[in-house]
Subunit: 213 residues, 2 copies
């Protein structure tokens, strides 16, 4: 009798993430997992992306927060289908939360799904949701040392957005030091300096994303 | 034979936190657990506190980060004893990490110990270190909605510092909305609006802390 060896046993989260991914792929849906510190501008970035791409793509949004529906309300005001997940204390979204939210969105008519994670530079990194692209929003008031202090997330992402560049003249933010830190960890990352307040840089991001699709 | 019922079984972390606390109390040491999002200004706040109080108190610092010794290096440049804890990925400090760091500080000559937690608005809330006061640094660029989105930490703290008030004229930060959110969660919290850049508000904080001691 042969002993069966089971290899690559996946964590429950990884298994559900792969199921989510298969569902996204079957429907031709591009899915982004948008991560950042609290207040870096994830929702503003999603709003700007919607505004810039809504004429060309059907967009849906899943908002993750510990509490409140402030962010989903902001997106819904743009007449975009939005689901709010309240994690009730949990510090990150997981694949099962996303699976539970999907039936509430019109996936058949959606080209691009933007998932906003809980504001946290650490824990979301370890939980795949089934996304195609991991996007990190850093922001200039946080300081240029963040790649050195949070290497896990800076290493893991496909896209790095540096938001609030309109504040650069007022801050002691060393952009060269920031970029050196990023390049050491993740030389392939697509980098977009933007201001969600003024709109600067959003067009390049939107064009890159369209080309990715 | 009587069945023994063990009540109030403490978590390992809570038990070590209580041991730390007894050690702090026996030595007459006041200990602060400083928490915030990444980049809110924890280290700058610690530097300003040192600068303002070093003539009156002997101060020590424990810096917590996932990686790097950037923050402990900053404090050490002020000629203050500083220990850097690298959590190696963990999203918060715990009581056992603090216990391990204490022998590296001259506790016999220390009046005030400032512990800077990992930048995270969620996870550190659940891990007591043995501290006397939990201090949360919010910052204006993060936006006024943070109390509504991260109620756990805003409810748990003794002191709330709102940093970067020098940027207020440039931001859409609704201070009334922020304060209403805070008051609903934590009406007793001591609130200090400050700018660690200009020094505004630091004196009131320092006087309050001295009186607390």
């Amino acid at each position: 009798m042969q002993v069966q060896i089971v290899q690559n046993i996946l964590s429950a989260n990884e298994q559900i993430a792969q199921e989510n991914r298969r569902l996204f792929d079957a429907r031709g849906l591009l899915v982004l997992n948008v991560m950042a510190s609290p207040g870096a501008g994830k929702t503003s970035f999603i709003e700007r992306t919607i505004e810039t791409l809504r004429a060309r793509l059907c967009i849906g949004v899943i908002e993750g927060d510990i509490a409140s529906s402030i962010d989903a309300d902001r997106v819904a005001r743009l007449n975009i289908p939005a689901v709010q997940i309240n994690t009730g204390g949990a510090c990150h979204l997981d694949a099962n939360m996303i699976r539970g939210a999907l039936p509430k969105l019109p996936l058949g008519e959606t080209d691009l799904l933007l998932i906003e994670n809980v504001g946290n530079l650490v824990c979301p990194t370890d939980f795949a949701l089934g996304e195609h692209l991991k996007v990190l929003i850093a922001s200039t008031p946080e300081g240029n040392d963040k790649p050195y202090k949070y290497p896990g997330i800076f290493s893991a992402v496909d896209v790095l957005v540096l938001n609030k560049v309109d504040l650069l003249p007022l801050l002691d933010f060393d952009l060269d030091n920031f970029r050196r830190g990023v390049e050491a960890l993740n030389p392939e990352v697509a980098f977009f300096p933007v201001s969600c307040k003024t709109g600067e840089g959003i067009q390049s991001w939107a064009e890159w994303l369209l080309a990715k699709r």
